[in-house]
Structures are given as structure tokens and as C-alpha cells.
Symmetry: C2
Subunit: 165 residues, 2 copies
């Protein structure tokens, strides 16, 4: 199992602190409620995964979640993390963000919709909201007689810090 810690092993550069749209704090008991709402059993592993997702940085990879949770509960397997993340993504409880061919990143689905601006060089993710873009998307769909259900809008570029060296 040599791929458990590939990211740490590669000494990936530490990321910028994220610029996040404000998120509501989670009260105790919320996690259990979330799990039950999905029709699943409440286990220590699942609670630990949710805790890790809500406490740490947003937009983490499954491996990062695994590492965090594994540090406190060394017996947890990464299959459990992947499985639970997938199940939560299906139920829209977490949102999966994929950039290029890189590992998927997850965030607890935020109350407010937003899109992402990603630095190709350092991986930093900035969230943004643009009601104007949303409106134009609706207009495009209407022109083609589509009823819009969802969209993916990811902007890629080089952030100021990476550009100036």
C-alpha cells in the first residue's frame, strides 16, 4: 500500500490560506443528524470524517481526509473514507470539485452556491459568486429551449503570488 501518503511523501508545497465565502458554524449533534438524514448508520468513522471536513480547510482530497482522520483513529481504512465521501456526494451532502486530472476535492455542500477560481500553480482555490453569470447561463439555456438543472464553472489561472515569483 505505497500510495497511502503520496501527497505528503511528495512534499507538496503548502497552500495559501483559502479565501472562503462565510460558512455557518456547525452545532454538536449536527453530524449525527446529517448521517441519519442520509439514511445511514451513525459510526465513529463517519463522525470523524464529517468532523474533519467541517473543521479543516475546505476543498480537501479524499487522501487528505484519510490522513487527518487516520491520525486520530489509526485503524480507519481509506476505503471507508472513499465510500462515505462518494455516498455523501451522491446525496449532494458534499460537493465534489475536480480540476483537470487531479484527485477530486470535497467540501461540505455550502448553503450558498458558488463557483471556483483555481491557481494552476499552487492549487489555491478562491470561491466566488456571480449572479450576473448565473443569469446569463439561464438565458443561454432558454435560447436553446433547455431547462437548466446544474452547471460546472471552474476558472483557472495564475494567482498574483505565483506570478510574481
Amino acid at each position: 500500500m505505497e500510495h497511502i501518503l503520496p501527497n505528503l511523501a511528495k512534499g507538496r508545497a503548502p497552500l495559501e490560506p483559502e479565501k472562503l465565502i462565510r460558512r455557518e458554524p456547525l452545532e454538536p449533534g449536527t453530524f449525527k443528524r446529517m448521517i441519519r438524514k442520509m439514511g445511514l448508520k451513525v459510526t465513529q468513522q463517519r463522525l470523524a470524517i464529517l468532523e474533519s471536513l467541517s473543521a479543516g480547510r475546505a476543498h480537501v482530497t479524499a487522501q487528505e481526509v484519510f490522513e487527518t482522520v487516520n491520525a486520530r483513529y489509526p485503524e480507519i481504512g481509506f476505503a471507508t473514507v472513499y465510500r462515505f465521501l462518494r455516498k455523501m456526494a451522491e446525496q449532494k451532502m458534499v460537493t465534489e470539485v475536480r480540476m483537470g486530472g487531479l484527485p477530486a476535492r470535497y467540501e461540505l455542500t455550502p448553503r450558498r452556491h458558488h463557483d471556483h477560481l483555481t491557481c494552476k500553480l499552487c492549487g489555491q482555490i478562491v470561491e466566488f459568486e456571480s449572479p450576473q453569470i448565473e443569469a446569463l447561463q439561464e438565458q443561454v439555456a432558454k435560447e436553446h429551449n433547455f431547462r437548466l438543472t446544474h452547471h460546472v464553472l471552474e476558472l483557472y489561472g495564475d494567482c498574483a503570488r505565483c506570478r510574481t515569483g
Copy 2:
């Protein structure tokens, strides 16, 4: 190498005919010029790959390109296809589209930039252009001090025909 033909083997459902923004036909000699413009050597393999890309449907996977080219030139290896597609993507000669965790799809970078509106039900892809959305994207990037290099905008919905049954 049992994964050479996974898509054919799986009997993927045929897609709707695509609605494409008009593309200019390519004159003979264009391919050689394109390759030279990238600073690469002109080989039969590369010509065959470009031919396949320009002749068939847009938005093909590397495996599909390999299969097409391999049918006519059985000695070509898939590494060559992948390598060339990657190189062309780096130089923006082809555009890579990744949705979800699915294999990347490629298209010869069209002269006119466009995004995609996809029907979730029948798989139909409608291409559209929205300079207004592009402009707003630039503005978002500017606000966050990013230099925008590219973006992914995919709209999903139900087309008129599928909705009305």
C-alpha cells in the same frame, strides 16, 4: 494490455448527432503546417492522429483516437497517441475537456471559443458562445488578482425534445 478497447467492449450507447458551431474544413497540408508550428517533427503517426481528430466526431477520448488510428495503422502504439494529444493540449492546439472522473475528451481547438450545453437525458451537446459570460469571468479573475488562462463552463439540463417526451 487488456484495457486497450474498454469503451468498445462496454458497448457504450450511441450519442445523438452533435449540434456544432460551424467548423472550417481543413485543406491538405494544414496538418503538416500545424505540426511544424508546434515545433515538432512531421510523422505519419501524427498526421494520422490529426486526420482522425478532424474527420470524426468532436469530443473524443484518447482511446477512441487510438482505436481509429490503429485501425488504419495497426503498428501505432497508444503511448504515441497520448503523448501527442498531451503535447497539443499544452500548446492549445487541442482542447481537453474533463467531466467528472471520466476519461478526458479532446477536440481540435475551434477557431471560435465556445462552451457546452449538455442534455442529461439524451446526451445531446449544444455548443454556445457568450462573450458576455467571458467578460464577466475576466472581471472575476481580475478582482482576485488572477491571470486567467482557461475555464470550464458546462451547462446541464433537459432539452425541449426530452422534456415534452
